[in-house]
Subunit: 99 residues, 2 copies
């Protein structure tokens, strides 16, 4: 099992971000071919108090190839374009293999 | 469901880090009371090529209270002390609620 992990730092306007994420971005991401599950983790703090992060979204795929195919698909490109538009300044993306 | 998420940037010595994580730290973390699951995600890249991250470890708990109890338990304190010793410079910790 592999994951595409999107780590979002706190956005300037949390309400606007959350609305766009839920109503526009998540539905686009969920259209990616081969996606098994989208799990959204909402950050609510840290052992030190506040966290600098807002969300960690995990998109599960069966294999590394399935993940790459999803990203290069029209649906993946549409999700990527939307992502850069509303969260380009706060997001980082990572590929992970579940050990 | 809530998670304690540990995000590790690439350590200076990956081999030494991996050995300590697997042989010492993960067994300590797994002793925390109330821990339902420890899932280790090994980062292998990003859409841009390399990633600055090495691991993302997710520790699952039933409730926010269970997570806080785990951290303040003797087992949680032992895991935290070990963590600061071998990964203090590369780790950040976050509390998350699965949406």
């Amino acid at each position: 099992m592999v994951k595409l992990i999107a780590i979002y730092k706190k956005p300037e306007n949390v309400e606007e971000f959350d609305k766009h994420y839920k109503e526009v971005h998540a539905p686009l991401a969920e259209k990616m071919p081969g996606l098994l599950k989208l799990e959204v983790n909402k950050i609510y703090g840290s052992p030190a108090g506040d966290s600098n992060l807002h969300l960690i979204a995990e998109m599960y795929f069966e294999t590394k190839e399935a993940l790459m195919n999803a990203l290069s698909s029209p649906e993946g490109k549409a999700a990527g374009k939307d992502l850069m538009g509303f969260a380009g300044k706060v997001v980082s993306m990572h590929f992970a293999e579940v050990v």
